[in-house]
Symmetry: C2
Subunit: 513 residues, 2 copies
């Protein structure tokens, strides 16, 4: 049995205190533990700030990009081993594990590539220079410089590799050292990835540290140049943003919280249209991939009244034919949820939704066997105005159909009741309808995904987070922003206006002409 | 005697409750009052969201820019009258009042001009489109759309016109309705400006509302699409950011707080150099303009040991020859501080600093007469390591000299002890020294101002906030960002990635080719 270690202050350290058991969610067997105490938080932060930060900042963006390229390769080389770990401690099917791992190595490679477009200076010039006075002499340039602090990355249990990798890529490329905290339930994969990262020797000492246990007390030690990037529940996000020390020191806090994402079928989509096919296929992926444990997964499905029967039939068919079982079985397409606590949450959530919905498929009943399995559950709202539909996220293989009149305005109103979401998807080949929906919902979302006949076979579904587009969302979704190419570096950079004579400021800090 | 009214829900409304007296700070005479109660906050917010927001969003950026142009003209046309109000209720000399008023009309005109570069669509396309898949079909554009909420602008007492105008310009151009709260002590100018704005009929109903009294309970009514922009003390900023409702709803909070700004003289600058001359001149402006009540004013003055005597002599000469008195007297160059409370704070602050400093000029003693006058006070640190020097802002005509060894590294270390500032200025014609200082301090500042022989006669000093460069700073300065051209609109816009087929997404949301 494995007891996970922390990598802090340049060494692997065993934890202490009462162990938290790690399970194989497919069997409920205990396969390891995390002992939460034993890391000196102040020393870990100081090590990052005093050793890791200066080492990273001494490199160019391109040099840091080379590190990311190397890390991407390391992950890819150990892919098969890591898929096994994800199956054992995460309940991930082979497909689920690949989605997580390839997401991590792909995002690292993306930012490695992006680094080639960045300058050789220690800063990035932001936009064009500006004349400030009546003469061209008095000039301003804006520069983006790495913050001389530390990035505390608090990851969720559902994407142990990708979540760590995407935050790491942006922070390291920006030049800010990382302390990464794994979601404890599935920490074994993050721990093994961290072992590989440390063993590779690619990252300078102090620029990467790893903690699998609780770090809630660490926020009290953060300083003004530090950054917290958190992915997880809205509730925990609120606690972090409300931390008195972070508020007093203006610590940057970037939150990506769960949200009640939606998908809407346009009234023009008929059963044999490519748009309809993608709608069903993407819903099926979102409900079953990672057993529905994706922050981007669709929870509310808007269907025009006259398409209801067709959608239900098609979706139920797909869900029923999904083979559920032990994640390590290569024929299985949907594994368990990640932990006993998640199982309880999901079952409780389904029961709450059932008070407002009819059950089309599934339900909260326990499945046979000791593992943390939930059956795919499709509900239909009895009344779209019930606030619970728009507020309660069941973080598992569960979604609710909301019948609607097919009007863009109605769709936008219902979708926006989610109070701010990571993503919404709309399927239609009617450009007017699509434009109205997109314009109506865009300010409430970090990302809007448009399905049409032309995306068929070309587009990854709305549940996939790609490094070229931003990830995050307003309101309920936490108000944060990650990825999106160069935009993803901004939380780790300080923007500063440099003013003075153009011959001094423009030549030193402006873009090369 | 005038009792200021609020403009809310489409009408001017008298306040109720116990009056807060407004004074002429030059004479301590009561000239008006603000009655804090009587505004229905929920109704005021709803009026902005439901009436003002849709009206603004129905316009193009250029149409909103035209409004700003009109408002700029209105202010300019009433300049003389407004200078009088600023003198009576703000203790502003004619020069102080012009600085505030021309700052307001200039910033409105700047954003009016900027609007011409913006598209005719309801959104701004953010950067280039991006290919997301293996084929060029799967595509993303990023768009910036006005948030369908309300902007609550909480202004400081020191810049009643400019503070209101710069926030208003960015918010209105972005398409977000404004509720503006004046700093109460000097609210008469903001009230009169608001009367002119309302009477002009330029802004659509609901897009501008004005409250001179307390609005602290309003933050409890804010929603996820709303934005708070606050300028004022670090302490109040912390309270706003810590508001439980704002945290829970991910309300955007942009804070521009006071900070312990510095100026550093390079070791190469001799007494008759232009750089030296500007150093002294800008220090004199910062200490006496608005009686030192500028959030950007220099509080810490770093001087190489061997220049100490020359700097002190030159600065003391300038300060001594500054005529202090009733702000309405046209020969007066420095007026009183804004209120009795400010007078008490400033005198108390000087006394605290004196525990760590020698007094070169001035001190906390009361000046003759009933007004709120403080004598210009120049101190010299006995020990640069005293944390108080880097923490305590005396918001009045007071600054402290810190002697140092002339090394860039020493200067950067001392400057950064401010824990995050709005601005720092460095004076030198030694490019290597300047580069080292700038690179060392930039991440801790929102703005760095470089003085050299070539800026002589061409540059406004570091205390002036210009719309082309960002204003704000990390850490102690609140972590916010305003102005900086188009950057200033970002707090009011939601960035959203739109993904889908390139022919749909690129054509609808991409930049015109």
């Amino acid at each position: 049995m494995t007891s996970l270690q922390s990598y802090a202050c340049g060494q692997w350290t065993a934890g202490s205190g009462d162990p938290v058991a790690l399970h194989d969610p497919s069997t409920a067997e205990v396969i390891g533990d995390v002992r939460p105490a034993g890391v000196d938080f102040a020393a870990t932060l100081a090590h990052a700030r005093n050793v890791g930060g200066p080492a990273l900042r001494a490199m160019t963006f391109a040099q840091r990009g080379e590190i990311l390229k190397g890390l991407s390769k390391v992950l890819h080389e150990h892919r098969d081993e890591l898929i096994g770990v994800a199956g054992r401690n995460g309940g991930n099917t082979r497909g689920d594990a690949k989605f997580d791992l390839d997401g991590a190595s792909g995002t690292l490679a993306f930012y490695a590539h992006l680094s080639k477009s960045l300058p050789e200076t220690p800063w990035i010039t932001d936009g064009e220079g500006t004349q400030l006075g009546r003469t061209a002499r008095f000039w301003a340039e804006h520069v983006l410089l790495p913050r001389p602090g530390v990035a505390l990355h608090i990851n969720a249990f559902n994407f142990p590799a990708w979540g760590m990798g995407e935050k790491l890529a942006c922070s390291i490329l920006a030049g800010v050292p990382v302390i990464t905290k794994a979601g404890t339930a599935s920490a074994m994969l993050a721990w093994r990835v961290s072992e590989l990262i440390v063993a590779s020797g690619l990252l300078p000492e102090g620029s990467f540290q790893f903690i699998p246990g609780s770090i809630s007390a660490m926020t009290d030690h953060l300083e003004s140049m530090d950054v917290v990037a958190f992915t997880g529940s809205a509730r925990t996000g609120i606690r972090i943003r409300g931390n008195a020390n972070c508020i007093a020191k203006s610590v940057r806090v970037n939150i990506e919280a769960d949200s009640i994402n939606s998908a809407v079928l346009g009234p023009d989509c008929d059963f044999d249209d490519d748009s309809f096919t993608q709608f069903i296929s993407n819903l099926h992926i979102d409900m079953t991939q990672k057993a529905g444990q994706k922050c981007t997964a669709v929870r509310r499905i808007l269907v025009p009244h006259d398409k209801l029967d067709e959608v239900k039939e098609a979706l139920v068919d797909r869900l029923k034919s999904t083979r559920i079982g032990n994640a390590l079985d290569p024929d299985v397409r949907m594994g368990p949820v990640a932990s006993a606590a998640q199982l309880e949450d999901v079952r409780g959530g389904i029961q709450k939704l059932q008070a407002e919905c009819d059950t089309i498929l599934g339900g909260p009943e326990a499945m046979d066997g000791p593992g943390y399995f939930v059956t795919p559950t499709l509900l239909q709202a009895r009344n779209n105005d019930a606030q619970l539909l728009h507020e309660l996220e069941v973080f598992g293989p569960c979604a609710t159909i909301l019948p609607y009149d097919g009007k863009a305005e109605t769709a936008a109103d219902l979708i926006n009741r989610g109070g701010g979401c990571l993503v919404a998807s709309a399927y239609s080949d009617d450009k007017k309808w699509i434009s109205e929906v997109v314009a109506g919902i865009a300010p409430w979302h970090g990302r809007v995904w448009v399905g049409s006949e032309k995306t068929m076979g070309h587009a990854l579904g709305p549940g996939a987070v790609l490094p070229g587009a931003i990830h995050g969302g307003p309101g309920r979704a936490g108000g944060g922003e990650e990825l999106g190419g160069l935009r993803g570096l901004q939380p780790y950079l300080q923007r500063t206006a440099i003013q003075g004579d153009r011959s001094v400021v423009g030549r030193s800090f402006g873009s090369p002409e």
